[in-house]
């Protein structure tokens, strides 16, 4: 069952009515439920643009994007916001936690938007923070935590509301090798244990080795789509 379906998507950026960048030049992609996949490619290849389109953060110039069976092009801005809240989790390269909220408050933010009862929110957040190894740091503000800890909070926030898919844009780019590896292992564990679908954009070889599937973009087009065989070992999960 597909969670994401991208068909013939093009995205151009305009300035003064003229096309200045063609970020995507016709991308087709289907992501199945439970996949742990990466979108690879050099800088400027269109990775972030593709994730933004899948995440209903931006609109394609042409083509269609479906998430959980819903065509994003037919949704109003409010419906897109609701879809992001209910079905999509985000992990950003720069963590992007809300600086005035504690780790626990950040993690429960999306559940708050979904009006999950407070007691249920607290229970789930406590469980998640323990799962991502942040027990005892619940009341810390982002500036009081390391980059790795902040990114773990971001992952907890992304999966707390039980989305259909988590989009992670260069999640290890600002982390050292060991911290990045630990983060990827943690996401891998969540993928296995909870069946959460992950789509990364990355050019970090460690991340790419850990993925079950790697889609390579070059100049806004899918250059390759490689799947590992089920028995093939994964570098990050040892």
């Amino acid at each position: 069952m597909s969670v994401v379906r991208v068909a013939g998507v093009k995205k151009s950026y305009l300035a003064k009515g003229k096309v200045v960048t063609e970020a995507l030049r016709g991308v087709d992609l289907v992501v199945e439920k439970g996949e742990f996949m990466a979108i690879a490619g050099p800088s400027g290849s269109g990775k972030t643009t593709l994730l933004n389109l899948i995440g209903a953060l931006d609109t394609p110039t042409s083509g269609t994007v479906e998430v959980d069976g819903r065509d994003l092009g037919t949704l109003s801005p409010n419906e897109q916001a609701d879809l992001r809240r209910d079905r999509i989790g985000f992990v950003f390269q720069a963590y992007n936690l809300i600086p005035v909220l504690s780790a626990a408050e950040n993690a429960e933010y999306v559940m708050g938007l979904k009006r999950v009862p407070a007691a249920e929110r607290r229970r789930r957040v406590a469980e998640l923070l323990a799962q991502v190894g942040l027990e005892g740091l619940e009341e810390k503000r982002p500036l009081e935590m390391s980059g790795g800890q902040q990114q773990r909070v971001a992952v907890a926030r992304a999966i707390a509301a039980e989305p259909a898919v988590v989009l992670a844009d260069e999640p290890t780019a600002n982390l050292d090798q060991a911290t990045g590896r630990a983060l990827v292992e943690m996401m891998r564990r969540l993928n296995r244990d909870r069946g959460v679908t992950f789509i990364f954009s990355s050019h970090d070889p460690m991340v790419l080795e850990s993925a079950d599937r790697v889609v390579r973009l070059v100049d806004g087009k899918v250059a390759s789509d490689e799947r590992k065989s089920p028995g093939e070992p994964q570098a990050a999960s040892s």
């Binding site: 953060l57 801005p77 609701d82 985000f90 950003f92 809300i98 408050e105 933010y109």
Partner: protein, 409 residues
């Protein structure tokens, strides 16, 4: 909602100095307005309750047709009997006066004056200046030859205590009436026209000078509370019927009432004017604060916050600024009003002895008083305007596409 209020409250203190500057601008503006309306309220209150500075009454009674030309022969008969029948509230004072225009002549000149024939004991409670005799002595009851003159008149006519003063009037029969009085005392009044052109004599002496019997031209009633005036007027009208005209101080000084009514409108106008200036500054500060957080607000949008949620967040921030500004502004403004209630803050006595306002005369030390309604109106207006100031920054940031917001530095 709880999270929204928490985020907005904490956002407020991320840049403490900027928030405090915004709050200070709004709060100080409100404090000034509260103090200003307290000043006006104090002046109006004193104008109403200190009519004895000019000897005016909260309620005055005249014979029908006496006002405004004041013919001597049009008078209220049996003034003493009338006074005794009036049912007045506890603490009220009343007296009868004979009033006439006269030419006052001394050894060194002449001056047109108003002669007031009074009962000295009653007048002491009606006119502050009647009792404020700086030279000589007060007018005694039954003193048919004595006259009290004001300082400015004494100065002009070079009168001293014991000097003679001739008063010439047109009597009730149209003939000239002349009598000579002796200056018993020189009174001080903060109202220059009274000091320059009013003399007091005993009522029977005035009646004799004018060729009248036991009549009065004016009954003056001063009340402990100016708000009782309309009620007292109605009761007196019922009792006196058609033979007398009963008027309140508000009818005698319509400008005072207009000033009072205008204060509310002026408060709104001044508040709007002040906030046109202050509000632009606050809006600019808020816009800066919001645009600095474009990326952060973009993240919130990405996580599923609707545009109206972002608007609500920014408005919650302006709500907090409004709430704190109004609290601080009210506290400061009311403290200043309280500090000025004894006249120490607005003491103009070094440059002038009195203020004239709407036909009445006030002490140069203005005692401020809390103007309840205008203060509430100003506070409400400041609260609403400061909260609404957040609309433009909120609207502007809510229109930014999430992807674009996430790319912001």
């Amino acid at each position: 909602m709880r999270l929204l209020l928490a985020i907005s409250w904490r956002n407020l203190w991320r840049n403490r100095r900027r928030t405090l500057i915004s709050m200070s601008a709004a709060g100080l503006g409100l404090a000034l307005i509260v103090f200003y309306v307290g000043w006006i309220e104090g002046m109006i209150g004193e104008a109403k309750n200190q009519l004895d500075n000019t000897g005016m009454g909260h309620v005055e009674v005249y014979a029908k047709g006496w006002r405004p030309r004041r013919p001597v022969e049009v008078a209220l008969a049996d003034s003493k009997g009338l006074l005794s029948t009036l049912e007045l509230p506890a603490g009220a004072d009343a007296g009868a006066r004979v009033v006439a225009r006269a030419l006052a002549s001394g050894a060194h000149g002449a001056q047109g004056v108003t002669v007031l024939g009074v009962d000295p004991e009653r007048e002491l409670r009606l006119s502050k200046h009647f009792g404020d005799v700086r030279q000589g002595e007060r007018l005694a009851p039954g003193d048919g030859r004595g006259v009290l003159v004001g300082e400015k008149l004494a100065e002009k006519l070079q009168l001293k205590v014991g000097h003679k003063l001739k008063l010439m009037v047109q009597g009730a029969d149209g003939e000239m009436g002349v009598d000579v009085f002796r200056v018993r005392g020189i009174f001080h009044s903060i109202a220059a026209p009274l000091s320059r052109a009013t003399v007091f004599v005993d009522a029977p002496a005035a009646q004799k000078l004018l060729g009248l019997g036991e009549v009065a031209h004016q009954l003056v009633v001063q009340l402990p509370d100016a708000t009782q005036a309309d009620e007292v007027k109605r009761a007196m009208e019922q009792r006196l019927g058609d033979r007398a005209e009963v008027v309140t101080y508000a009818e005698l000084m319509p400008a005072l009432l207009e000033i009072e009514q205008m204060t509310g409108t002026m408060t709104v106008v001044i508040t709007l004017f002040v906030y046109l200036l202050v509000g632009l500054g606050i809006m600019n500060t808020m816009l800066m604060s919001v645009l600095e957080r474009t990326r952060e607000l973009g993240v919130m949008r990405a996580l599923g916050e609707r545009p109206r949620g972002i608007v609500a967040l920014i408005l919650a921030e302006s709500f907090w600024i409004a709430l704190l500004s109004v609290a601080a502004g009210l506290a400061l403004g009311l403290a200043a009003v309280w500090a000025g209630a004894d006249g120490s803050l607005l003491d103009f006595s070094k440059s002038t002895e009195s203020w004239e306002m709407a036909g009445t005369v006030l002490d140069a030390r203005v005692r401020t008083a809390v103007a309840v309604r205008p203060t509430i109106e100003a506070a409400a207006l400041v609260f609403v305007l400061t909260t609404l100031i957040g609309i433009y920054p909120a609207w502007r940031i809510s229109k930014v596409e999430p992807a674009k917001a996430l790319r912001a530095n």
